[in-house]
């Protein structure tokens, strides 16, 4: 059952709407845990042996596995249900927001007018041109995507994303949807205790849920989140204010940062690069390096690369690339992330990559013990299901 979000913009909706969201939450958990496990068993017990008999070789990569699985009826049921569940995430939340828009407006006005001790800000750039990868498609099947707005105060797309993510993640991204941000920032804190960033930049921050985690882990740092989507940034600003977290939000494209060289100690992103065309990924990495100070850290939480995964696990993670309106996702996962960092100008002896358990589901002491054990790529890496672990990569400048 979804837990109400811990801020003043949360709209529960009617009993019926809440029950329908609860249904989708449970459906996602069933499909991505139970059905996913059954599907893997079918692959190992039937699909893979059949493939071997027919071709004389085991599937060599995720594409081979996908071709074989497309003939399997269980994969078809899994995919059909997962696709429908994805649509239903947005429909159930969108309907609740539409039918309770006055309640949302009141809550938003309350947050915006409240006096606050925290020093956050919002800066929009009306002249910013939306990149095609954002404007042309409804990413994650979310109607209207991140960017659609009908007036200069509109933040509905942010509300839809926040409350939709709460259903989508079926409790796997933390009670405040910020587990990724906490897991990454705390990994840096634990592994590099002498590194004390003065400022942090979060690229493609959407509603700032993971941006705020950095401000919590490093309270002395000035934290800024940028995104191209104004409705998300308006919402992010109100959300952070409601939670008493000082974050600055700016409308900006990560491929063309409006900051001087050597401006930040940390440049971070989460689940961002895989939504970009490869040429934009390369631009964003080069820009990240440019604005980093010497000794600063570029860190991206991402889906694990295909070259680190078994063929079945590659296939499993690439489902979104084919069926969830994420056309650049597979191209990113096919890259060697070390090569990308080096191409962006980082030295090969300054690269880092790691796998971390989820921070917000254990005590700090348990987390410290866990990250000090070696983690290896396996089926839990980046896969939203019980036991998920996050992958991070980047480089020191």
């Amino acid at each position: 059952m979804p837990v109400p979000l811990k801020h003043d913009l949360y709209v529960r909706g009617s009993r019926r709407q809440a029950a329908q969201q609860d249904f989708v939450f449970g459906l996602r958990a069933y499909v991505l845990n139970d059905m996913a496990n059954t599907m893997k068993s079918r692959f190992e017990e039937k699909v893979e042996p059949d493939f071997l008999r027919a071709t004389g070789a085991a599937p060599k990569d995720g594409v081979d596995v996908h071709k074989a699985m497309k003939q399997d009826n269980y994969f078809r049921f899994y995919s059909s249900m997962r696709y429908c569940a994805q649509e239903m995430v947005w429909r159930s939340v969108g309907r609740a927001l539409n039918e309770n828009s006055d309640e949302f407006d009141e809550k938003l006005a309350g947050v915006q007018s409240a006096s606050s001790a925290v020093d956050g800000s919002l800066e929009l750039d009306e002249a910013l041109e939306l990149p095609k990868n954002v404007a042309a498609i409804d990413v994650h099947l979310a109607p209207g995507g991140y960017h659609t707005e009908t007036n200069p105060e509109d933040c509905a797309a942010g509300a839809l994303y926040d409350q939709g993510l709460n259903i989508f993640s079926f409790g796997m991204m933390g009670a405040n949807l910020d587990d990724i941000g906490h897991s990454m920032a705390n990994y840096v804190r634990v592994k590099h205790p002498d590194f004390k960033p003065r400022n942090v930049l979060d690229l493609g921050c959407t509603i700032g849920h993971n941006t705020c985690a950095w401000a919590t882990v490093y309270p002395d740092a000035a934290v800024t989140g940028i995104d191209v989507a104004a409705p998300c940034l308006r919402y992010a600003h109100a959300r952070a204010k409601s939670q008493g977290v000082p974050v600055h939000f700016k409308q900006m494209n990560a491929t063309k940062l409006d900051y001087p060289d050597n401006s930040f100690d940390v440049v971070f992103s989460s689940m961002f690069l895989h939504e970009l065309p490869l040429k934009d990924i390369k631009l964003a990495l080069a820009e990240a390096r440019r604005v980093l100070r010497p000794g600063g850290l570029m860190l991206h939480m991402e889906l694990p690369p295909n070259d680190e995964m078994a063929p079945y696990d590659s296939f499993y993670l690439d489902w979104d690339a084919y069926y969830n309106n994420e056309p650049y996702y597979k191209k990113f996962r096919d890259q060697n992330v070390s090569d990308l960092c080096i191409e962006a100008g980082f030295s090969d002896d300054k690269l880092m990559s790691f796998i971390t358990p989820q921070y917000t589901y254990m005590s700090d002491a348990e987390y410290v013990a866990a990250v000090n054990e070696e983690q290896t790529f396996d089926e839990t890496t980046g896969r939203l299901a019980e036991g998920v672990q996050w992958f991070g990569f980047g480089a020191w400048k």
């Binding site: 009993r15 429908c84 569940a85 649509e87 828009s101 933040c155």
Partner: protein, 106 residues
């Protein structure tokens, strides 16, 4: 807050050889969602009724709805059909619907 569009842009994929099966899957899941919402409400209602002593299980079996409630229920039934069967026509767009999209700049 402006009203959110609930329909995703772009062509819907199909996973079965016959796309009709995908449409039926959509209808089935909408039906299950509605069924769950009803079940949750019934649990809450029956719990509240039993706790307050207002009605017995036997009386629930025979209660008649007033006309106003029947009309409201009929309206909800039609909206339910719209939701559940929205995918049946997803492989076709009428010229009028396309013209409306062009006119609106989509």
């Amino acid at each position: 807050m402006p009203q959110l569009n609930l329909d995703t842009k772009g062509r819907r994929p199909h996973f079965f050889d016959d796309p009709a099966i995908d449409a039926v899957m959509t209808a089935m899941l909408e039906l299950m969602s509605e069924n769950f919402a009803l079940k949750e409400r019934l649990f809450a209602l029956e719990h509240a009724l039993e706790r307050s002593g207002l009605i017995t299980a036997e009386e629930l079996e025979t209660i008649e709805l007033p006309e106003e409630a029947r009309i409201k229920l009929a309206g909800e039934q039609q909206a339910f059909f719209q939701d559940a069967f929205r995918a049946l026509n997803a492989d076709h767009q009428s010229p009028a619907s396309r013209q409306a999209e062009i006119d609106s700049g989509k």
